[in-house]
Symmetry: none
Subunit: 206 residues, 4 copies
């Protein structure tokens, strides 16, 4: 086994903490729970992180943020038809979601709901992350407006915020209900909402 590999040690801690917080919540997780998922000792943990809070903050920025970008932002691309891209992204995520993820919900949302009103440090970091998410969607919608694939009267910022909120709400609903049909139903409603963002075909016949 490789001793003395500080980067790897830190990474192992972050990953173990991410999973533990995801499954038991931040407050419900003991540092021993985190350590039990690794071969790292408490001394090493406290060498890399000042305290539990800082470990939590690092999880937000070094695990949650990349996870969110990979899942929701990167697939967006830069084409002129964001509605189709968003639709495809949503379908991909809902389709590929395994049982575990389905039951546990969105890690960003979980931590947000648990910690935003408990600790300001968490709130600030999570809000920055959400803002980045909303911005990416808003920018995409703006591209669509420029390209004429999104209606002129759509407010990109407001719509992006609504979309993100709805997704978070849906993930919460899935986690609580554990009902995939319900999930699919909400997905359909979301899709029809997304379609209303496109310019209406001139409904003038002939």
């Amino acid at each position: 086994m490789v001793r003395r590999d500080p980067k790897a040690t830190r990474q192992k801690l972050l990953e173990a903490a991410f999973h533990a917080f995801y499954e038991q919540g931040f407050q419900g997780t003991g540092l021993d729970d985190v350590l039990a998922r690794t071969d790292v000792t408490k001394g090493a943990l406290y060498h890399h992180f000042a305290n539990k809070m800082e470990l939590g903050y690092a999880v937000v920025q070094e695990m949650l943020r990349p996870w969110m970008l990979r899942q929701w932002v990167d697939p967006l691309g830069t084409s002129g038809d964001p509605v189709s891209e968003i639709l495809a992204t949503q379908r991909a995520i809902l389709g590929h979601m395994d049982e575990h993820q389905f039951h546990m919900g969105c890690p960003v949302n979980n931590l947000t709901q648990e910690m935003a009103s408990v600790d300001e440090g968490f709130r600030l970091r999570l809000e920055a992350l959400m803002q980045e998410w909303r911005s990416a969607i808003a920018k995409a919608l703006d591209r669509g407006r420029a390209a004429g694939t999104v209606r002129e009267d759509v407010d990109p910022e407001a719509t992006a915020a609504f979309l993100v909120a709805a997704w978070e709400g849906m993930s919460g609903t899935g986690k609580t209900s554990r009902d995939r049909n319900l999930m699919r139903s909400m997905g359909s409603v979301m899709e029809s909402f997304l379609e209303t963002l496109r310019p209406q075909p001139s409904t003038v016949p002939g």
Copy 2:
């Protein structure tokens, strides 16, 4: 001082527990935190509730459920125009929400996100509560369909689920961002979505 008033004691505990869980989370709250908000002792608490979990369950059913019904279900009425009723309810809630509520988010959502994947007893009770909520909305939408104020092709169950999810997501966004403008923006998008549920005016041009 009136000693021996079991009902009042129980109620005081439920109210204190509700507020404590609301503000610090279930896992982040100690029984002593609850007791510190009352003049009740631990002996009395354990007389009324078997353990912390049962106290939590009781809060869900005796505090959260009535709160939800009062806020979201009762105002719905029985008229034939549910979209307007929902619109009015949402406006009333968003409008009257004070700073504290705004910062703390929806108590149902908070507890759901924190505990649904941690404890099955919580999940079941919270899911029942959410289901009741969705049902009430779905029933209202159905009345609208019958009355012709809601489009025929609207799926009441799916749409209700989506609406509830979106509201929960919005409350979470408000809590994290603490940005009332953002809240208003999402409200507007939600309103325009609600409007799409009404039958379209015949778009026959002049």
Copy 3:
């Protein structure tokens, strides 16, 4: 064994803590050290004392203070010849002091030197205790002045403070040197100083 005897439990803790602090210092003593001297558990300890600090404060007021009064104040009596009383008290203490006490020094002095500059709560309580001690001596010296057994030009407060300081210093010296002869020597010097407090015999030669 008698269960449920809160007063006895509290007392056992105070006594164990007194001895532990006396022998290892406050900072050098762990709560487990205290508990190991009793059959009390940590839960019980934290029922009776809010934290280690409060336990320390209680030791000062409920153990150290009575100990000091019994040893130095009560024997003083109310006669008109305080110098003789003080002399007798000092001799009794120095004479009866066992090896253990000799090696450990004065418990009041030990705690004072260790904690006065570390924690304000300790300093205040210890200063109050010392003040009581000085006052008792000063009052006695005053009685002597009134009775003519103490010189008119003796400042009771100042002299009392000096006496107490010197005793504390002597106890510290004994503890460090572990030299009983040295202790006796200092005792003699102290005695001759005490004698100078009496009115001088008219030194008129025959």
Copy 4:
């Protein structure tokens, strides 16, 4: 920056340790507290000192001892009137003492009271230091006896021990009471005691 300067590193550690132990006590000070006062790392510390205890011993011998000699022994000089010299030294020290020193007490006394009964290594080293101090005073008093400025019947060793003890006790009183007037009062009594060491003027009347 000059790396690799072992002597300077060692000195920095001793100084930081001296101040930390002075302010928080030996047992109350963590090695990290010491390191935080320097730009030295733990590796360097453990290169120069085997463990915390040895660091403490080195502080006694390389910081406390010179400090004591400079303050109490060097000013003594070699004249034939030690009482006046001691008087002057005491006045200088009491007069020049700043607030910090006044509140913190005598570093030698602090460490002595805290550690003498806890660790034999400390006790031995501190006792040697105190012995050196007492010896210097005793030797001075002896010089006085030879010169006729000190009474024949004064026991130099015993009186020196008493003086040192009284000073230590006074410094402890000052630290606990934080009362400069009390300090001055004790100083006056001490001065009048010192005067009694001089040969009495022949009280032969006309």
